[in-house]
Symmetry: C2
């Protein structure tokens, strides 16, 4: 993991945030290569699940929402971790973590049950000291809006993008006139005051989600929602496969009753074998009509759907959730490879071509002007075709190959002195390292077919 993070920082994928000021509590910035790769992920997700489907529409709701949203959703009362404090050092710890370390299964335990377990087990702080009674620590980040006494109020940064889709459900229905089943999709930032952020970009307080709420008619039989659930599970598996993640590195966890939310008849986690353990990558949940019913009750608004016969329903919902940052991490970990080549170690990111931030490297064999001019012509042609490319003129050709292997560039195009004569270039494949002479005429088309 350290080797990967060091590569990602050095090459401009992911930097520690606010680094010149000593950083800030596990925040990260996406550098020039990271931001391109992240955009590739988000664009393909949006094209696949929104633009190429007529049954899903997009939304971009505000991060700042009325506090009543979080009252209705239960986040204000329940979205919390149980914290205990070391009576001597005043350090705070998550009680659920301490209980787990003491061998207690905590899945599904209520706050009160955890207190009982804590007393029964005589749990101490990791420093060996006594602990205070636990208190609930809400995970939402609070801020305050407004300057006048009348309007100033506590506001929370959304801890998930999902609620925006429920709160706007009726407006979306009215303006799009969609029929059930249909879905709403959103990509956006969310914030959680995690007690223990960590493992690089796996758990951060600021993160980005790609979520879909897929609304269906209230099912008369389980098999009705099960069919939609299974279809979404397959969609997610296909997505994971297209990211270049091996199916054997993914474990589907069927979250047992008692550990999943009480309103969910089925929840599965897509777990990935991260270097620091098997952890949740994505989630898929059947949430019934819990969310819409909450908002109907608390807002007093009618959020039901009326079908062509005039019958009213509160739709049920299936929710596929994808973390953007976790996608980045899983893809990068999957793609990272080292191998022996001619007695040297070659580091290579075996990214699927569509994910690579730079698709083609254009390399003049020497710094001679006529070669560089030719390279610039090639670059311009590729750029016009929408193929992100880069010219690199420094150091030996071997070192330059390694430099682009390391960032996952699928093809290197070398312009040499023969090129001036035969109007051909050498195209090298990142994975096979095989080289091919390709005519300059048609080079753009040749590469375009390969990289998209």
């Amino acid at each position: 993991m350290e080797k990967i993070t060091s590569l990602l920082k050095r090459r401009g994928f992911i930097y520690p945030g606010s680094l010149i000021y000593g950083g800030l509590q596990n925040t990260f910035d996406y550098g020039p290569l990271g931001v391109e790769m992240k955009k590739n992920i988000k664009d393909e997700w949006w094209n696949r699940f929104v633009r190429r489907r007529s049954d899903i529409v997009g939304l971009d709701s505000a991060i700042l929402m009325n506090t009543k949203v979080w009252e209705a959703s239960g986040h204000l009362a329940e979205f919390s971790d149980p914290l205990v404090e070391d009576k001597i050092t005043h350090e705070r710890f998550r009680l659920d973590h301490l209980l787990e370390q003491a061998g207690t299964k905590i899945g599904g335990l209520s706050f009160e049950q955890m207190i009982e377990k804590m007393k029964g087990k005589n749990i101490k702080s990791p420093n060996g000291n006594e602990l205070t009674d636990p208190r609930k620590f809400n995970l939402m980040l609070k801020t305050s809006l407004g300057a006048t006494l009348e309007t100033s109020s506590d506001i929370y940064l959304r801890p998930e993008t999902a609620q925006g889709m429920f709160v706007d459900f009726k407006q979306i229905l009215e303006s799009t006139r969609k029929k059930i089943p249909f879905g709403v999709a959103q990509i956006g930032k969310a914030f959680r005051n995690e007690i223990t952020p960590g493992n690089f970009i796996f758990r951060t307080r600021e993160f980005e989600q790609m979520e879909i709420e897929y609304f269906i008619l209230p099912p008369k039989e389980d098999k009705e929602w099960m069919e939609v659930f299974n279809t979404w599970q397959k969609e997610m598996e296909k997505w994971i496969e297209d990211l270049g993640i091996l199916g054997s590195d993914i474990h589907i966890l069927d979250v047992p009753e008692g550990e999943r939310a009480h309103y969910s008849k089925k929840t599965i986690d897509f777990e990935y074998e991260f270097p620091f353990g098997v952890k949740e990558l994505y989630g898929l949940a059947y949430r019934g009509d819990f969310d819409l019913q909450n908002h109907i009750r608390e807002s007093g608004q009618d959020l039901s759907f009326v079908d062509e016969d005039g019958k009213k329903f509160v739709p049920h919902v299936i929710e596929p959730t994808f973390g953007v940052d976790r996608t980045m991490l899983a893809v990068l970990v999957s793609a990272y490879d080292k191998e022996q080549v001619e007695g040297e170690v070659r580091t290579v990111l075996r990214l699927p071509n569509w994910l690579s931030p730079i698709k083609v490297a254009v390399l003049p064999l020497s710094k001679k002007e006529e070669l560089i001019n030719l390279c610039e012509d090639v670059l311009r042609e590729l750029s016009d075709l929408g193929i992100i490319s880069e010219i690199d003129i420094t150091q030996s050709i071997g070192k330059r190959y390694r430099r682009f292997d390391e960032i996952g560039t699928p093809y290197c195009v070398t312009v040499d002195f023969d090129t001036l004569e035969d109007k051909k270039v050498t195209v090298r494949d990142r994975d096979t390292m095989k080289q091919e002479r390709v005519a300059l005429t048609g080079l753009g088309k040749y590469l375009k077919e390969k990289v998209f």
Copy 2:
């Protein structure tokens, strides 16, 4: 303006945020059509200024930054509005606004000078009551991170995306090995606790920016930075033109000395004739080396650039800033049109094709199955070509044309009973309303050339 906002809400461009709970202080959500149009704007900006240029790289830095960033940038001390309070009603007002209304030019006045003016003018509250002395009200939204006593601290949501690009300057330089001149570009959310948000999405507390910091060598003569400045001014004018905004609706304001920041030798505002007045749309500023020098001083880090001869420089910077939400608003206002057609009023959004959220409407003349099947074939072909399209089968063809005129769809394709015979469809142009028979074979290619 009311007609426009009502259209935008009704058709799913822009909804009031948290509406079912009575909204939240001028927050807005982008609905299914708005999110597509916004994505078109951001994607084109990114393609134009990052992907198609070899001298600009992208960044996506965190919204949460170390508080020392805002100490260094001056935001913590200076990014504030002067507020006064009505002694009777306790309402608060911006003193600069009250002074302006009283006919005082406040550009460039310091906080202390405003107090003097206030006393001299005997400024009263709009309710006629006495006012308190002004106090500085910081515009940054504050939150708090961390659960343990040791790490919990006040953190601000960034009020601009720019600082991320300065703070990461050295990391970007090292990982990309770019030479000066080069730029860093970023698109992202920022937050300001505006005292008086308003005018729809013109001034909101949560907003999105597209910014570039373009680094140049410290100029020996003014004309060196002036040339780069002029080039950027032209780039911005070209961008505005491509948005379909008339040059005559744009006013370039050369911000006079005393009103612009003290470190800026030149700042221009691109002002647009919004329905509620002539207001700032974009900005372009030459900021010297003010930002990097601040961070060098406060962080103690060396943020200079070393050229090939080993000479060290602190680069200067030209900063073009584009508001995403203001772009949306200016484009929508510019595109909105009403005209008399056959005795009826036609509302039409004359959006440039590349900005339209739905490019093509596919309309069966009747609900007959064979026509709908044909429409679905057409939709599939267009979708495969990346052309976002929609089938609409309800109401008369005339009403459906109007519906798509209103959301700026450039082309309507009508499938009628003749289509079954002659394999041709009617393609209607939004602006001219002219209709043309086009063969089904090649229809996708025909439309693709028109809409992109």
